[in-house]
């Protein structure tokens, strides 16, 4: 259990027929750590997250998640790994339009027995509890179509979804870029607080360096990615 949440050594990745986008000699995210990863758009951060999530395969090097070398896993085992241990929050449009707010939050449980087990019997109650912790308590709001929610509300629903079932790692890819400053700071505070409660490591990616102060540690992607320096 002392394995880091994420450990990368000598990672290389290139889209077919293109120059390498990732050349990361070393990267580490400890368990329970809240890390800020700064990178402008086009710096390869989405690709890096894809590799960590096990959706993209590295060309070379080692990517370990919770001590498990992803290269050693089949693609469906990587999918299961992601389902069981990773929560993901995107920049925007995080929600499945045809599911209710609660349905969106409990969605990961449909693909992961481990997270179902962690939640216990009542998934809906747990979803409502998490939404409540993130400041979404209004029942009328919970019954609305997700597309009718404000962006800030949508991002908090996405955060609840990433946190449900207590995955070990939560990845957030520019989750606050569509929020105003107030909402942004509150969102990060809530997310950090909840991640701390469940013990999840938080990998928070943004181009906005001013957010770095809100995290345990900050890393600049340009510094760890030798390929990114080219562009």
């Amino acid at each position: 259990m002392t394995d880091p949440a994420i450990l990368i050594e000598g990672l290389r990745f290139a889209w077919k027929g293109h120059a390498p986008v990732l050349d990361v000699p070393s990267f580490r995210l400890a368990r329970g750590e809240r890390l800020f990863l700064r990178g402008p758009s086009g710096s390869g951060k989405s690709t890096l997250l894809g590799v960590i999530a096990g959706v993209l395969e590295a060309d070379a090097g080692k990517v370990s998640v919770l001590g498990q070398d992803l290269a050693a896993l089949s693609s469906s085992a990587r999918d299961r790994m992601r389902a069981d241990h990773l929560g993901v929050i995107f920049q925007m449009f995080n929600l499945v339009p045809y599911l209710s707010v609660v349905g969106n939050v409990t969605l990961p449980l449909k693909f992961s027995a481990a997270r179902r087990k962690a939640v216990g019997g009542n998934a809906d109650a747990e979803a409502r509890r998490l939404l409540g912790r993130l400041g979404l308590t209004d029942d009328a709001m919970l019954d609305r179509r997700v597309s009718d929610l404000s962006v800030g509300q949508q991002q908090r629903v996405a955060a609840a979804r990433a946190l449900i079932g207590a995955p070990e790692i939560v990845i957030a890819d520019e989750p606050t870029s569509a929020l105003d400053t107030d909402a942004r700071d509150r969102f990060i505070a809530l997310l950090s607080e909840e991640a701390a409660r469940t013990g999840a490591a938080l990998l928070f990616v943004s181009h906005d360096a001013s957010l770095a102060r809100l995290f345990d540690r900050a890393v600049d992607l340009a510094e760890i990615n030798r390929a990114g320096a080219i562009t």
Partner: protein, 422 residues
């Protein structure tokens, strides 16, 4: 899988508008296909059930199908008749058990009039050998008695003792060309049979002769009306000819030899047909049209299925983000694949189900009208195996067709990774 099914269902609900249009397309195509099929089997069963227990039908030489149509189904006309002596000669053959002579050519307000004998009520059978039954009254005994079919009674509102006047020929309102001076009286009403018998007015052969006294040239003799009923009853009313006659044999085994004997009758040429064989010939004539109709309706179903494909394919681009979200929360590419296949399958299944309900509702409402107008009974075409097979086939075909968009989404979900592109 049930999680994916519930996702597929919710996703369809979310796109109600386009999904309903697709459902309508599938439902209409399935309803058309089943409607054609039911009309076909209904017609076949109806025709097949019209005559039973008769071994041979004999008439003047004409087409096999033609003889069957006019003698049993009251469709079309005889081109020639069989003379009475010839009829008697065949009827007295030792291998012939019974005969039912029939004489056609007159009508009553659109219903055909059939002159025959008591033997008709004894030997004419329909369905699985059911004999004719009187719902009310009795068989004809007097010269101007008539026994009417169930539809005649219902549609014209006739009861026992209602008077009726026959017309010469088959026109509905051939005033002046009628047999007004020889009114008949209803003495019996037959129970419904679902066959052309229901739409027939039955009188005795002698009555047919009687009403044609004065019509020997084919048109009404001006003096005909001067012959009163009393005088007619005094005449020898033995018919000069009959239109055709049904034959029952002593032993079924002789059917082919008896038929040959009749077909090679010396003197007046005759034609004998076996009802089942003639029906088969009729089906072979209609089979071509049936096949064409079935082919068209199968193609219409194919169009319905293509509309499922179109609606899902066009939705794929706007759903690209949805697929990425599903992948991010742990859905495997296989889940994405089954989601889209199940969506297609659900639309196909529901569309076919609606189509089946629709066609049965239509048959329930329109069935009696079709039966009254065309004599084709669509009853007994209730929900059956054909519907079940169609439902299964359409569902399977849509699952299959769903693999096209599913494969596209599958490939894309592998290539897109987690990065959500819009």
């Amino acid at each position: 899988m049930s999680a994916i099914l519930s996702l597929a269902w919710k996703s369809l609900l979310n796109r109600k508008g386009s999904v309903i249009l697709t459902l309508v397309a599938v439902a209409l195509s399935v309803a058309l296909f089943l409607g054609v099929d039911k009309a076909r089997t209904g017609a076949r069963e109806g025709f097949g059930n019209t005559i039973s227990g008769t071994d041979l039908i004999v008439g003047a030489p004409t087409g096999t199908v033609n003889l069957l149509l006019y003698s049993v189904f009251r469709m079309g006309n005889a081109t020639a008749e069989v003379s009475w002596p010839t009829y008697e000669k065949i009827a007295s053959r030792p291998d012939v058990a019974w005969t039912v002579p029939i004489s056609l050519g007159d009508s009553h307000r659109g219903f055909r009039v059939l002159g025959t004998t008591d033997a008709y009520f004894e030997h004419y059978k329909y369905g699985r050998g059911q004999p004719l039954a009187l719902a009310e009254g009795e068989r004809f005994s007097d010269l101007f008695d008539a026994v009417i079919g169930a539809d005649v009674a219902r549609e014209l509102g006739y009861e026992i003792a209602s008077p009726l006047v026959l017309s010469h020929g088959l026109g509905t309102a051939s005033l002046g060309a009628g047999h007004e001076n020889r009114p008949f009286r209803v003495v019996g009403i037959l129970a419904p049979t679902g066959t052309p018998v229901d739409r027939t007015v039955h009188v005795s052969l002698e009555a047919i002769t009687a009403i044609h006294v004065g019509w020997e040239t084919g048109a009404k003799n001006p003096l005909a009306d001067t012959i009163d009923e009393k005088m007619i009853r005094g005449f020898d009313l033995t018919p000069k000819s009959v239109t055709a006659f049904f034959v029952g044999l002593e032993r079924k085994g002789t059917i082919l030899t008896t038929r040959r004997a009749i077909n090679t009758n010396k003197g007046e040429p005759l034609m004998a047909i076996i009802p089942g064989e003639a029906l088969a010939e009729l089906w072979s004539v209609t089979a071509f049209a049936e096949r064409a109709l079935m082919a068209v309706s199968v193609f219409v179903i194919a169009v319905g299925l293509v509309s499922i494909l179109t609606s899902i394919l066009t939705s794929l681009n706007e759903r690209r983000r949805e697929m990425s979200i599903l992948r991010a929360v742990g859905a495997r590419p296989g889940h994405i694949f089954s989601l889209l296949v199940l969506e297609a399958g659900l639309v196909g299944f529901l569309g076919a189900l609606i189509g089946i309900v629709l066609i049965h509702a239509i048959l329930l409402v329109a069935g009696p009208m079709v039966e009254a107008r065309y004599g084709v009974s669509l009853a007994g075409t209730g929900p059956g195996l054909t519907d079940l097979y169609t439902l299964l086939a359409v569902t399977l075909a849509s699952l299959f067709i769903g693999m096209v968009p599913a494969w596209a989404a599958f490939r894309r979900s592998l290539a897109d990774g987690l990065s959500v592109k819009v």
